[in-house]
């Protein structure tokens, strides 16, 4: 389950945050508390409505014991404007 956020129309950022969270069996609230952000931020990240800062991206990656690239996928040359 990947969420997609268009950055400029021809580029987009997908993420696998929801899938990873569900794999870990935790709620949005729990993840938000661990990352010290609001639950709405987690919701927006999962829906692909919001791009995280590099610091938050690192925090997320560390929380799931993985790399940023494993969670966030940057795509170029995609004309789909979501």
């Amino acid at each position: 389950m990947e969420s997609k956020l268009s950055i400029r129309g021809d580029t987009s950022l997908k993420n696998r945050l929801e899938m990873l969270r569900k794999q870990k069996g935790i709620k949005q609230e729990e993840l938000a508390e661990a990352l010290e952000v609001s639950r709405q931020t987690i919701g927006s990240l999962e829906n692909g409505r919001y791009n995280p800062s590099i610091i938050l991206a690192f925090k997320i990656a560390r929380y799931f014991n993985t790399t940023i690239e494993e969670i966030f996928i940057y795509e170029e040359g995609n004309n789909d404007t979501n």
Binding site: A32, E36, V37, S38, T41, P52, S53
Partner: protein, 141 residues
Amino acid sequence: MIQINGKVRNYILVGISAGIIVGCLFAVKLYGRDTWVIVSLTIALLMFGSSVDNILEHFSIKESIEAKKQLEIEMKDERNSFIREKAGSKTNLYMLYLNTAITLILSFMGVELWMICLFGFLILAQGILSISLYNYYDNRY
């Protein structure tokens, strides 16, 4: 020295400022619109507004530790900061349109030139401030 907590201090300030406002209103009737009365009234109104705002904030924030922690998270949250900045930026833009519209309306209404110049200066000041701050943050980051 007596220690007064923020909540009590705000209530005292509301009382004092309300007293000054009432006093100023009487002074206007007695002495007319003297400069000192207007200045006192403005300061009292600002004090009153600020204190009432702080009191309302106290009411809206629950005293529990969890609520305080949650509030801290909400304040530090990067998405909330982004939303605040975006809202502020849009507000600034719309205020510029509104100021321009008011200036135009005033100029068509035949208002005195100095008033139109004052509104024009506000628009100019907004532009200068915007450019200055842009340059400041451009150098900083």
